[in-house]
Amino acid sequence: MLQRFIFIILTASLFATGYMIVEAQQQQQPIDSPLFHQKGADNEDRAWGIEERMAKMRIQKDKKDHEELIARGLELNEIIGQLEKSFEASGQLSQEDFSKLATAEKLAKKIRNDLGGSNDGDEEELPDVDKKMSTLADAVKLIQSKSEKLIGELKKSTRFTISVPAIQSTNAVIRLAKFLRVRN
């Protein structure tokens, strides 16, 4: 009777030990095995290293591009501001103002290009612009407000987004700059 009892206890212990070993193996994945780790880790580290460096370069370029985009917007806004002040003071645009208008138009085109807009925007109907730019004074006022809107949209955007209102604002600035130059 005792012999049988001991035998049962031993068998039970054997199964329990077996279960514990299996469970422990499930918890420890092969990556913890020194054999696996040495071989796998080298390749892994190398592959990750290259990918990580590439990702870093890409992210830095994206950040720089976005900062430059905002800087261009600020420069455009500054030029338009000077133009408006000059017009307010004299009631007309000087030769210097016209060269500033040309610079503003170039900047607006560059911004539009960076935003993914195209020259098709030149042909686009802009009813809110076309209706309001009947006089020089109206056009100067409007180009100022469109430039303000553009910089607002650019500041709201991130390197992961593209703003349609920002593209529309560049189109408006380009249209108005052309109008002001032709009206001279």
């Binding site: 199964f15 299996v22 499930q26 994945q29 390749n43 892994e44 990750w48 990702a55 993914g116 992961f160």
Partner: protein
């Protein structure tokens, strides 16, 4: 005596199996949702993959099973979102748990004041790390104690996330999976889980953290499981092994969620037949791509 030993052995074997097999959950559970209004969260991207903002309602058209539907509401940037982040802490993620944790924190940092997110970790079971909150300030200490071990109940985790999102008031919902592989131990099928995610209108973003030295078959298997979730729900599959790329991916996801378009309509077909309804969102502007859910299953009368 031999018979007794054999019997004892079998009893012990059964006892061992009971504890070693992960708890299987019933596959017949359902998440109840309101089907009278269908919501579509859409991400519109340009050719460079950047999310396009500032589009207006008149540019969009919605089709269900090919029939045009009338748009009832259109919301853009201002709409808040609710997200569930699922962190895989199974054994194979051992060396990447820290990366995953920092990416999750990056996500919380990128949220707006009105957005909320919750964090779960999953290995052999799904565990709540942080309930829906807007801030990382109340981030549970538990997130810093996460250790990698056990199997991968990916499907169960996604189902849990869908269930939690179904109780949220936000229309814009997302599940972000951070995992290195396919499911190994769930009680729920991928199909069941996908239907649950679609029914609560959750967009699934999956970030594949598989080690680069996996065999092509293993890679394909992992990618397949995650891509399937993302593509059908209008989300995105991202393969990103490194830390910087991972944090960047999370910043991209949180910003993308902030600029989605949330469009809803009352479906003309109100039959409760449980059948699949395919969805299509069109935009009348060239060179733009729309990502949204591919459809949903109509509710079924019991």
């Amino acid at each position: 005596m031999n018979r007794t030993i054999c019997l004892t052995g079998w009893v012990l074997c059964l006892w061992c199996l009971t504890f070693s097999i992960p708890a299987q959950t019933k596959d017949d559970e359902t998440i109840s949702v309101d089907s009278s209004i269908v919501v579509m969260n859409a991400t519109v991207t340009d050719t460079a993959g950047k999310a396009v903002t500032g589009l207006t309602q008149k540019l969009f058209r919605v089709f269900e099973d090919g029939a045009e539907q009338e748009i009832k509401s259109f919301e853009a940037e201002e709409t808040p979102f609710a997200a569930v982040i699922l962190l895989d802490t199974s054994g194979s993620m051992e060396e990447r748990v820290t990366l995953a944790r920092s990416a999750a924190i990056q996500f919380l940092d990128g949220m707006r004041a009105t957005d909320v997110a919750s964090i779960y970790n999953f290995d052999s079971k799904v565990v709540l790390v942080q309930d829906f909150s807007n801030s990382r300030d109340i981030l549970s200490e538990h997130i810093f104690d996460l250790k990698a071990h056990g199997t991968t109940v990916l499907n169960d985790a996604v189902y849990k996330a869908a269930e939690m999102l179904s109780k949220r008031p936000e229309k814009r919902r997302a599940i972000i999976i951070l995992s290195d592989g396919a499911d190994t131990a769930s009680g729920k099928s991928a199909d069941k889980v996908l239907r649950a995610a679609l029914s609560v209108n959750a967009t699934i973003y999956s970030v594949d953290m598989s080690a680069p030295n996996l065999s092509p078959q293993e890679k394909a298997q992992n990618k397949g499981a995650l891509t399937n979730f993302s593509e059908k729900t209008g989300g995105k599959y991202i393969s990103t092994p490194g830390g910087m790329a991972l944090r960047d991916a999370f910043t991209r996801i949180v910003q993308e969620l902030g600029v989605q378009y949330t469009i809803s309509y009352a479906p003309a077909n109100l039959k409760k037949d449980g059948k699949w309804r395919s969805l299509e969102l069109r935009i009348s502007k060239p060179n733009l791509t729309i990502r949204t859910r591919k459809g949903y299953n109509a509710p079924k009368l019991k």
